[in-house]
Symmetry: D2
Amino acid sequence: MEFGSDNTAGAHKAIVAALAEANDGRAESYGYDPWSKRAEEALGRVFGREVSAFLVLTGTAANALALSSIVPSYGAVVCHDEAHLHTDECGAPELFSGGAKLMPLSSVGGKISAALVAKTLDNLVRGEHESKPAAVSITQLSELGTAYSVAEIGALGSLCKARGLKLHMDGSRFANALAGTGCTAADMTWRAGVEVMSFGATKNGALALEAVIFFDQSLAEDFRYRRKQAGQLLSKSRYLGAQMLAYLENGLWLRNAEHSNAMARLLAGKLAEVKGLRLPLPTQGNQVFAIMPKRLHEAMLKGGAHYYAWPARGSSVEGIGEGECLTRFVASYQTTEEDVGALSHLARRLA
Amino acid sequence: MEFGSDNTAGAHKAIVAALAEANDGRAESYGYDPWSKRAEEALGRVFGREVSAFLVLTGTAANALALSSIVPSYGAVVCHDEAHLHTDECGAPELFSGGAKLMPLSSVGGKISAALVAKTLDNLVRGEHESKPAAVSITQLSELGTAYSVAEIGALGSLCKARGLKLHMDGSRFANALAGTGCTAADMTWRAGVEVMSFGATKNGALALEAVIFFDQSLAEDFRYRRKQAGQLLSKSRYLGAQMLAYLENGLWLRNAEHSNAMARLLAGKLAEVKGLRLPLPTQGNQVFAIMPKRLHEAMLKGGAHYYAWPARGSSVEGIGEGECLTRFVASYQTTEEDVGALSHLARRLA
Amino acid sequence: MEFGSDNTAGAHKAIVAALAEANDGRAESYGYDPWSKRAEEALGRVFGREVSAFLVLTGTAANALALSSIVPSYGAVVCHDEAHLHTDECGAPELFSGGAKLMPLSSVGGKISAALVAKTLDNLVRGEHESKPAAVSITQLSELGTAYSVAEIGALGSLCKARGLKLHMDGSRFANALAGTGCTAADMTWRAGVEVMSFGATKNGALALEAVIFFDQSLAEDFRYRRKQAGQLLSKSRYLGAQMLAYLENGLWLRNAEHSNAMARLLAGKLAEVKGLRLPLPTQGNQVFAIMPKRLHEAMLKGGAHYYAWPARGSSVEGIGEGECLTRFVASYQTTEEDVGALSHLARRLA
Amino acid sequence: MEFGSDNTAGAHKAIVAALAEANDGRAESYGYDPWSKRAEEALGRVFGREVSAFLVLTGTAANALALSSIVPSYGAVVCHDEAHLHTDECGAPELFSGGAKLMPLSSVGGKISAALVAKTLDNLVRGEHESKPAAVSITQLSELGTAYSVAEIGALGSLCKARGLKLHMDGSRFANALAGTGCTAADMTWRAGVEVMSFGATKNGALALEAVIFFDQSLAEDFRYRRKQAGQLLSKSRYLGAQMLAYLENGLWLRNAEHSNAMARLLAGKLAEVKGLRLPLPTQGNQVFAIMPKRLHEAMLKGGAHYYAWPARGSSVEGIGEGECLTRFVASYQTTEEDVGALSHLARRLA
C-alpha cells in the first residue's frame, strides 16, 4: 500500500539494463559520449523539432538551472504558490540565479491562469523597487495532480510573449500530463509558447535523470557552462544518456505514465465512494488528493497505508473543515491493481 | 502639500553644516577617520551599551547586509508581507545572502506577532526541502505606520532565542517609533532581544546615512568585509561619521521625529473628520493611512496634494470597498502645520 | 607631506557648495531628481554622444555592477594582476556577478596588451571546464600610474569585438589619464571600443561619487534594477547629481586632474635626482612609483612623510633588489608645490 | 592505449551489480534510505572515527559545497594554481560560496607547503580590502600526480589551526594517494588536521559518486540544506549509498587504486627509458607526467595512443623547452599491462 511518492519505486528494469550495458568499454566523458548525443536527438523526435537538451541529475537542478538561464539576479519568476520550485527546493532558484525572487500566486486547483498573471503584472508599477518579472513557470502535471490544457498553456505563452517574459515548464511529471491525452508533446510545449522545460524521468522509471530542454535554442548557447558550474556535468556522462535512451525507447516513458495514471484513476474512483472522504480536484495524472477526517487518516496510517498529508501552506484547495485534512496518494509505474484494492478496502473498512 | 515621502525633503541644515565642516583638511580614509569612530561611540551612548556600528549609505544596503550576516544562502527570513525588504528592495536580501528566501506572513496592521511566527515555524516540518528559518525581521516603525510595543518585541525576542533564530529590526524610521514613547532605545531593541538592527537617518534628516548596529557584537566580527565587498565602504568615510554625529547631537534625531510624528497626529485628527474617509490603523509615527473613495483621491491629486495610493499587495488593511483605495500620507521633519492645514482643508472641500 | 592617497583629501569646495545648494526644497527621490538627469546629459557632452549614466557611491560598486551587467556567473573577466578590482575589492565582482572569476594576467608596467590577452584566450581550449571569458577590464589611469594610449585601447577594443567580449574601463582616475593629453574623452573610450566604464570623481574632488557609463546603451537596459538591488540607489539622489554637475562644470574635473598630474611630475623629477632612488615606471598621471632602499623608506616615514610601500604582489615592477622596496606617492588636487618641495627635500637629506 | 583519463573507463562490475540489486523494492527517498545510512557508517570505519558523510554526484559539487560550508562570500581559499577547483570547475566554488575568491599559489610539483601558505598569509596586511583567507585546500593525489606526505599535511593542519583557517582536502584520487603507503586514512586526513574532504569514487570505479566527509562534525550541521539547495540530493538516493557500499566492501577501492598505481609505475619506468623523453615529477599515484618533443607527441597520437598534453597554465613543471610539451598519462583500474606495453612500445619506436 505504497502511495507516498513516485520516488520510492526503483528504476524500471529496462533502464537499469541499459545502464549496465552502457558500462562496457571506454567512452568519451563530460557529455561527449555517444549516448548523450543520441539522447538529445531522441528528445528532438519526441518533441517534433530540433532541441537543445542537457541531461542533469535532479529535478531541483533542472528547474534552478533552467530558470537561471532566463532570469537575472534582479528578476522575478511568477509561479503558483504551491510550485515545487517555491516550496520544495530550499532556495535553489534563488541560489543559481544569484538572488532572483519567486512571485507566488494564489489560485485554487494548483494552476495559474493567464488572466491571473496579467493582473499580477499590471499591479507592478514601481519599477526597480520590485524585482523585475522575467519568467513564468508552470508545473505540468501540477503539484496538485491537475493538468494544464493546451489552450491554457497557449494563453500563458501569448501573454509571456506580449510582455517580454519567458515561459518555463517544470515537467517533472510531464509524461503523466501527456499520457492518454491524444495531444502531442509539441502541442503541449513549444507550440504553446514554452521556451524551456525541465523534462523529468526519475519519478517515472529512471534512476536519476532529468533534462533541461530548450526549444528556443538561442537561450541554450552557454548552458553547458551553467551545467558544469553547478556540478551537474557527469564525468561518466554515458549513464545519463543511456537512461534517457531506454526511457524513450518504444514509448516506455508513456507506457509507464499511462499505467500510473490508470492506477490513480482507479484509486480516485474507489476513494470517491468512501464515506466521509471527498476529492476536491480532478485526477488528471498519477496523483489523487482527498479530504478526509483526520481520524480516518490516522487510522489508515496505522492500518498500513503509506501516503502523506499535504501541508495546508498553499491556496490550491479550499473548504477543508475543522477535523479534516488534505491527503495525497501517488501512483507509480509499479503500482498494481492489488495495491489500489488494498488501500481502498482499508479506507472503506475504517471510514 | 508634500506628503509623498520623508525622502523628498532635503537634509537638516545642521547635518549639512557638519558635513561641510568635516570637509576641511586631510583625514584617514576607509572607515578609519575619527568621525566614524566617534559616531560608533555616540550610538553606543544612545543604546546604553557598547555596540558595533557600521555606517552605510542606503536602507536597502543596511537591511541586506545585516541579514546576510545572520542568514545563510539556504536560510529563510520570516517577515511581514508588507516588509520593505520584501516588497521594495528588488531582491537585495536574496543577492547579498547568496540566495536566502523571504518568508512573508500575512497579518492585519503591518506587524507580526510571536504567536504567528511560532505557528509558521511549527508548520515547517520537512527539513531541508524548505529553506531553513534563520531570522525574523521586524520593521519599527512598521511600513503601515504602526509601532511594535516593547512587550511585542520582547515576545518575538524570546521566541527567536528559544528557536535558535536571530531577531533583526529594520529601523529606517526607528526614531519615529521611539519619539515620545518615554521608552529608551535600549528597551526597544537589545533588551527585548534584537541582535542586529538597521538604524535609519536619511528619512529623518540626513543626506544618505544608515547604520548597521550589532548588539550581539560577536556577529559583527567580519562585517567590515561584508561592507567592503558590497561597495558600501566610503573612501572618504568622514562624511558618514560627520552626518551621524550631527544627527545624534543634542537629540536632533528625536526632535525631528517628534515633530514629524506631531504633524502626522495632527493630520490624522483632521482627516478622521473628513466625510467618506476613514483611518484603518492607529497613527503611531509619522505616517497616516486613510481609506477614501477613489474619486476623492483623484480629486485631491488634481487639487495639488502630493501623496500616494498604497498598493493593495499586502495583508495589512482589510475592508477596502469597491470604489475605494488605500492612501498613505507621510510627514517629514520639515512638514509644517500649514502643510497639514492645507491638505486637510482640501480634503474637506472635495469630500 | 601627505602623499598616501588621493582619498585623504576632502572634497573641492565648489562641490560641497553645490551639494549644500541642492539641499534646499523638495525634490523627487530615487534617481528621478532633476540634478541626476542633468548630470547624465552633462556626461553625454563630455563624451560627445548620448550615454546611459548611473550615479553610484563607490568605485567598488561601480566596477562590480558594471561587470555584473556584462559577465554571467560562469564568466571570466580578463584583467591585470594588479587591477584594483582583483586586489582591492574583497570579491565584489564575484559577489555581484554571482560567481564570475577574475583572470589576472602578469605584465610589467600595470597594463595589459591586446597581444597578451589574445594569447591568454588562445590557451583556453577546454570549453566549459573553465570560466568563459566574457569581458576585459582595463584601469585608466592604471594602478601603477601608467596610462593606456588610445592605440593600445583600440587594439583591445578590436580584439574584444572579434572575440565576442565586452571591454570595460575602470576609470577611477580617468581624469588623470585624460588631462593634458589633448585627446578627447570620446577617443579614449567608446571610439576605441570601450562599452562600459566606471567614471570616478571621488579621488579627484567629489565627496562620494562614481558613474557607471554605458556607451553601448543596450547594455544599460536593466541597470537601474541592478543599482537598486545592490543598495546603490540613493533615496535623496539629488546629492549625487549635484556633485556630478559641479564636478564637470567649467572643466573643474580636468583642472583638478591637471593640477595633481603636474604635482606628480614635479615630484617625479625631484625624486629621480635622489641618490639610491629610481623610478621604474613613467609618471603619466598623479602617481609616482619609486624603488628605494628600505632604510631610506623607513627614515622618510619617521621624518614625517606620509605615503605607502606598494605590496610586491603583482607583476608590474621587476628588479626590486634585496633591501629595497617599492613605494607609491600620490598627488591630489590639493597637493601644493610646498608639499612636493618638503618631501623631496626630506628624501635628499636622508638619502 | 587509453591513458586520457580515469573517467573514460566504465564502472566496476561489482558496483554496477550492487546498484542493480539495490533497485529491487521500495525504499525511503531523499537520503533516508538504508544504503546511505550504512555508507556513512562504512566511511566512518574507513577513517577510524565517526564522520558526517554526504553523498553527492560530482567532484565539482563535492568541492564547491564543502568549501561553501567553510568559506563566506567575502572569504578566500588558498590553493595551488593547478588545483582542479581553480582551473577546471568553471567557477563552482565562487557560485556556491556566493562570491568567494580563490587565491592560487605558484609552486613546482603540484603541492603547496605550509611555509608558502604562511608567507602568503603574512603578506595580506590590508584588512577588508582583500578577501579574507578562510580555508586552505589541497588535492590528494595532486593534479600533478604527486602525493602529500602525512608530515606535509600535518604542517598545513597546524598552520591552519594557528591562523584560524579550515583545511579542506580534494580527494578525488584519495585512494590513489593512500594505496600502498601503509598509512591509514585517518593519518592522512583528520589526524593531520583536515576538517572536511571530498572523497572521490567515480574515477576509481564508481558510476557517479563522491562524498563530502566532515571530520569536524560541527561544520556539517546544516550541510543537508546545502546539498538540497544545490540540486545534489537524489530522490532515489539508494543508488548513491549502494555504490559507496560496494566501493568500500572488502577493500575494492584500495585494490582498484593499487592496480592503477602499479600500472602507472610500470609505465613511468618504461617511459623513462624512451630517448628524448623525461619525467619531471615522481609518480606517486596513477598519473605519469612526461616532457617530450612535440614531434614525438604528435606522432604518438597519430600512432593510436590516447592521452593529453597538459596545459602550461600553472607553475608545477619548469624547464619545458622550446619544441617540447608536457603530457599526462592516466592509468585506471582497468588499465592492463598490455596497454602499458603497447604505449611504451609505441613511444620507443617513434622516439
